[in-house]
Amino acid sequence: MAPVQSDADLLAAFAGGDRGAALTLTQRLTPRVMGQAYRMLGNRTEAEDVTQDAMMRLWKIAPDWDADRAQVTTWLYRVVANLCTDRLRKSGRGVALDAIEEPADGAQSAADNMQDTARTQALHSALADLPDRQAQAVALRHLEELGNPEIATIMDTNVRTVESLIARGKRALIAKLSGRKEELGYEDDNR
């Protein structure tokens, strides 16, 4: 059985003209890239656009990639986080309510689905209102569930700064969501 090639090796092969390496990287990396974008934006179409944009940046940087400096996945986390906050800031809004997709879980009642949709939309709107660095740090910690040292590497800063960004971001999110507790059904939520 052939050894699994690293992302960096595949990227080097692509830079040397190997189309198959691009196909392998696409299949290997895009589900996580798309997942990160979707968790941050809450919209599949926008998440696909971000995924395509991030992969295009990867193809373009391939000839200059320095495997000693960074991991491909770390670099992609940063690129996707930046692309998502750019989209949120440029559009000047959270994702529209009708753009949030309904959960596919058929076991939930329609009322629960509506409430889940409203809550997800509220979170994305609140994230969109945060300063970019706070939104990125909070998303990497609480949506991607990464550790603070890894987030510090992704954001090219230190752990103390990451802790501070996350703390301030969460306080701002609570301030924005607490005013909508009743509307979002958090007051009597026992789920």
Binding site: A22, T26, G35, E48, Q52, K60, A62, I174
Partner: protein, 114 residues
């Protein structure tokens, strides 16, 4: 954990959806992008190294231009060595007279004779 913290954690938990495979159309677009980047890079990467002569040949327009240039050069040389009478008469008409300029002094070899 405060109520607010619980509320926020519930919101995060709800947004933590699994990774998603992009649609076939999106994957096709991503590979088309990869192909376009490869196509842009290919001419530079695969172009063979050229010698000086080949570069000159390319600069003047390739072998057809070289053939024309060679023919013109031979014709010019022949006209210079053996100009047609009509051309001699024409130059005399334009300049008024035909003069001959000796390349060597006429008596340079005088001392060498007999």
């Amino acid at each position: 954990m405060t109520t607010d913290d619980k509320m926020l954690e519930a919101a995060f938990a709800q947004a933590r959806t699994p990774d998603i495979m992009p649609s076939e159309a999106a994957l096709d677009r991503i590979m088309m992008d990869a192909d376009s980047v490869l196509a842009e890079a290919a001419p530079v990467a695969s172009r063979p190294k050229q010698g000086f002569g080949a570069l000159i040949l390319e600069a003047i327009g390739g072998w057809p231009s070289f053939s024309g240039l060679a023919a013109a050069t031979v014709a010019g040389l022949w006209i210079g060595v053996s100009p047609p009478a009509a051309l001699t008469d024409l130059s005399a008409g334009i300049w008024g007279a035909t003069i001959e300029v000796p390349l060597l002094e006429s008596d340079m070899f005088a001392g060498l004779e007999g």
